[in-house]
């Protein structure tokens, strides 16, 4: 219970932020906010011994018990790792933002409210065991990310980036919700734990593949996988602390979390293994290839993030492969699971520090354009050191954490060659080669990032500001992260024991019963020239040569068609969707009542005639009908003539008079059909109506007084003819198939004894069904009041202003 409420601690704290931001203006609001993630981090550290021992911690807060929806905080190795990343890096980012965001110029209240909202959302995503509350928090991360990207909302680029990320991640989120609902339909529970428990039954279901694809769509959009990565580079318009926190260390890893969390269920399908691995490797290559093209520091880091997320994704796919193989190959895939979690941890550390360095450079030199930067090494030695550590770790060099995870990654990719259970055997080799080339590009852009910024010639004339070292407070957070990056290299097995192995046990429960079973030992030196090591040496050797020649071949990126960037595709589809919807509604919403009437009449005819045919409901019965008399025939002929005259009348007066004729003929028909009250009413009312028609006719404006010729319209005639035919068929069918006798016998028998009347129709109107009459009187009153209102109330227009409003 308490640990569920803790999820909401940041959002609860956010309630006080606007107050602090407004009232306590002497202290930067960030200092107060800092307490929240820091306390949570320390609190969650306390879980480490319990969780690394293989225990899990569950707390539940019912939300909608009747539907089985509740907030469940489920802390195992995987969620604890993410929780620590969120709160730990969250603390560092808040600390960094205190120095990054100006107290007087920025709206700090907004910033920290959004950030705390995001923190709750993210904690909720990683700790939720109930898929519905997981989805709730998932969308909350999209919304708070949207708000944070659009933080400087007066800039066009910010709003564009915010909208783009919103569109793509919410699309994925909705797909994911569909996947969750399918899982519920298959398993009958919203709990992930219980779903994992019933994996063998789930695999049998025909819905299984669909839910797999839908959940993967959610994960791929959130984690910026190919082809959904395009929102991430545009999200770089956010303030740098946001980019560091959301778009490198936490939110974009929500998709990885999702894949890792659902691996025990979906890895049972080979489709999952191949899809996750292939898309991951493709994203890895694509991101690293385009990162070299970028000239903006944060652009390089954005593509690098995309690429590294692809790397982790491919490792998770390989980890899923362990479900299918046994023996020696199995031990290889155990390493993939370990590598995925290990690199996830490493990446959060070094990418966070790199973003912070990019922010420092931006802050102190005034630009992030790498073409203007250079030679900052002497001016900003501390930032340079941090950037060097981060970049070399990203490139995968010793003595940094990235080296170890890169080696493990290569092991994982090498082992994929042995996984030829379902796809052609050579596919694993293709993946390996692509992964190697991608690592080569990773090496190049890492060097490009750090050396392009800090070495070479200093160009003070191109910089908006006089570059100098950042204040110490700003350097604290990246320095701590850089320290972690180095420390990981020397104590990988400590990190492995406490953090990585519990998470691996959660991802691959089909392999390990407890974290202690994860028998992976990381070492910087495996003794001898392993294939992994020789591949790394190859990357370094070729990478150095290519980096040396970079100025020669970087311009060739200009030749690579812009269409490959997929942004064009997104923009075009947006324009197409908007313009297409606009054109579509314009095409049928013309504003002419006639057209709308045609739609309605056509719809009615199609539905009624369609069901007459489909249900074979048409029937005509000629016996038992009332005989036809001469009076009826005469009246019908008059009626037909009058109605025809109305139709073809050239002048309005003729039409009105013949309408009157129709009315009087109907009254006479009422006489013939023995309905005296109807005949009386019809006569009177027809007279008044015709008078009214004549009034309206008399007041026709002069300009349109000339009676234009009635053009015969074929379309109208067809619709009208169809409606007439439909009504005739309908009337014949219903009169021929009467199912029940009339209830009127009751009225006829009781009209005198019960109601004391002789005129049955009148007794029905005022006694048996008096309510109808009451409200019919109301209708007449309303019509009368309305007519008086229309005639008497003349709000004259004041000039033209009324119209133009």
């Amino acid at each position: 219970m308490v640990s569920v409420l803790l999820l909401f601690a940041p959002v609860a704290a956010a309630l006080f932020v606007p107050f602090l931001a407004r009232r306590v203006s002497s202290v930067h609001t960030g200092w107060f906010v800092l307490a929240v993630p820091l306390l949570l981090f320390i609190y969650y550290l306390g879980y480490l011994p319990e969780v690394s021992g293989g225990n899990v911690h569950i707390a539940e807060l019912p939300w909608i018990p009747s539907y089985g929806i509740s907030f469940v905080s489920y802390i195992d190795g995987l969620s604890l790792l993410f929780t620590l990343l969120i709160t730990g890096i969250g603390s560092l980012v808040v600390l960094y933002s205190v120095f990054y965001l100006d107290k007087t110029k920025e709206r700090l209240g907004n910033f920290y409210v959004y950030l705390l909202m995001f923190m709750t959302a993210m904690l909720g995503v990683v700790q939720s065991d109930n898929v519905i509350s997981l989805y709730l928090f998932w969308e909350l991360t999209s919304i708070s990310s949207f708000l944070l990207i659009g933080y400087w909302y007066t800039r066009d680029r910010s709003r564009y980036g915010a909208l783009k990320s919103m569109m793509i991640t919410v699309f994925g989120g909705l797909m994911m919700l569909g996947g969750f609902i399918l899982l519920y339909l298959m398993g009958g529970t919203f709990s992930i734990r219980e779903l994992i428990g019933m994996t063998p039954e789930l695999v049998q279901s025909p819905l299984f593949t669909w839910s797999l694809i839908l959940v993967l769509l959610g994960a791929f959009t959130k984690s910026a996988q190919f082809p959904f990565y395009i929102w991430l580079p545009d999200a770089m318009e956010a303030p740098t602390p946001v980019s560091a926190y959301l778009h490198s260390a936490t939110m974009v890893k929500a998709g990885l979390y999702l894949v890792a969390r659902f691996t025990p269920i979906f890895a049972a399908s080979d489709l999952w293994v191949w899809l996750v691995t292939s898309i991951g490797v493709l994203t890895l290559f694509w991101g690293s290839f385009f990162a070299v093209k970028q000239t903006d520091l944060k652009g390089i880091l954005a593509f690098s993030t995309v690429s590294q997320l692809g790397l982790i994704m491919s490792l998770l796919g390989a980890a899923g492969a362990a479900y299918h193989v046994e023996g020696t190959a199995e031990t290889m895939f155990k390493i993939a699971g370990f590598a995925a979690i290990f690199h996830l941890f490493n990446h959060a550390a070094f990418k966070g520090s790199l973003f912070m360095v990019a922010g420092i450079v931006d802050h102190e030199a005034g630009t992030r354009d790498i073409r203007k930067l250079g030679g900052l090494m002497a001016l900003m030695p501390v930032s340079f050191t941090i950037a060097l550590i981060g970049s070399l770790s990203m490139a995968g060099l010793p003595p940094f954490g990235g080296f170890l995870s890169k080696e493990l990654f290569l092991t994982g990719m090498l082992s994929l060659r042995n996984f030829d259970l379902f796809a052609p055997a050579s596919w694993g080799t293709v993946l390996l080669v692509v992964a190697w080339i991608a690592s080569l590009f990773t090496f190049i852009y890492s060097l490009y990032f750090v050396f392009g910024t800090f070495t070479g010639k200093h160009k003070p004339e191109e910089l908006p500001k006089n570059a100098h070292e950042a204040p110490a407070g700003m350097l604290v957070s990246p320095a701590i992260l850089a320290f972690i990056v180095v420390a990981v290299f020397f104590i990988p097995n400590v990190i492995g024991k406490w953090i990585v192995k519990p998470a691996v046990a959660a991802v691959q429960p089909f392999l390990f019963d407890s974290p202690a079973d994860v028998d992976v030992h990381v070492a910087a030196w495996h003794g001898g020239l392993t294939p992994e090591l020789s591949m790394t040496i190859g990357i370094v050797a070729v990478g150095l040569i290519l980096f040396w020649l970079l100025p020669k071949w970087q311009p060739f990126y200009g030749v690579v068609p812009e269409a490959l960037s997929l942004n064009k595709l997104y923009d075009a589809s947006m324009v197409l969707a908007e313009g297409g919807a606009n054109r579509l509604s314009r095409s049928y919403m013309g504003g002419l009542i006639r057209n709308y009437l045609i739609y309605m009449f056509t719809g009615i005819v199609v539905i009624v005639l369609g069901s007459l045919v489909a249900k074979d409901a048409f029937a005509i019965k000629l016996d038992g009908l009332t005989p036809v008399g001469p009076a009826e025939i005469g009246l019908i002929l008059v009626l037909l003539a009058a109605a025809t005259t109305t139709l073809i009348a050239r002048r309005r007066l003729t039409a009105i008079i013949s309408l009157g004729a129709v009315g009087y003929t109907v009254a006479l028909l009422f006489v013939v059909f023995k309905a005296p009250d109807l005949a009386l009413t019809q006569l009177v009312i027809e007279t008044v109506s015709v008078a009214l028609f004549l009034l309206a006719f008399y007041h026709l404006p002069k300009m349109s007084r000339h009676d234009e010729k009635r053009r015969f319209r074929v379309g109208n005639a067809i619709v009208a003819g169809a409606v007439g035919l439909m009504m005739a068929l309908l009337a014949m069918s219903s009169v021929s198939q009467r199912a029940l006798p009339s209830i009127s016998e009751f009225y006829k028998e009781t009209v005198h004894s019960e109601a004391g009347g002789g005129n049955i129709v009148n007794v029905i109107l005022v006694d048996y069904r008096g309510f109808d009459t009451l409200f019919e009187i109301a209708v007449l009153s309303i019509a009368a009041i309305g007519i008086i209102g229309m005639i008497r109330l003349r709000l004259t227009r004041k000039g033209d202003g009324h119209e133009k409003q």
């Binding site: 059909f673 005296p676 109807l678 009214l692 404006p701 005739a728 009169v735 005129n759």
Partner: protein
């Protein structure tokens, strides 16, 4: 008789719909008038024309026409009269203010789409 009346009702509906689709506002309202006539006759026809005498108690008569459809039609006539009167005055006001009865011109302004 019922079959013939069905055909007549169909004809009235056809004429009404054709008029409602025309360009002049007055003709649209004439169309609604024809439509209500058609509907009233339809109700009457659906009740059947059986029975020898009007539904008023008279000595020695037991075979009355079905009174229920007549009561329904009476209500419908009054309501359609109220609505038609309202429409006509509205059309009259529209003529006065807008000086046109052409439905094509009454579709509003593209500016306010």
């Amino acid at each position: 008789m019922e079959i013939i009346m069905s055909v007549i009702i169909g004809f009235l509906f056809m004429a009404a719909v054709y008029l409602m689709l025309s360009r002049s506002l007055l003709r649209v309202i004439i169309g609604t008038g024809l439509l209500s006539h058609g509907a009233h006759l339809l109700i009457l026809t659906m009740g059947g024309f059986g029975g020898a005498a009007p539904p008023v108690l008279t000595d020695g008569v037991t075979d009355f026409v079905d009174p229920l459809p007549q009561a329904l039609i009476l209500t419908a006539i009054v309501i359609s009269f109220g609505v038609t009167a309202f429409f006509l005055v509205m059309a009259y006001r529209a003529y006065q203010e807008l000086e046109t009865d052409n439905m094509t011109l009454l579709k509003g302004n593209d500016e306010y789409d």
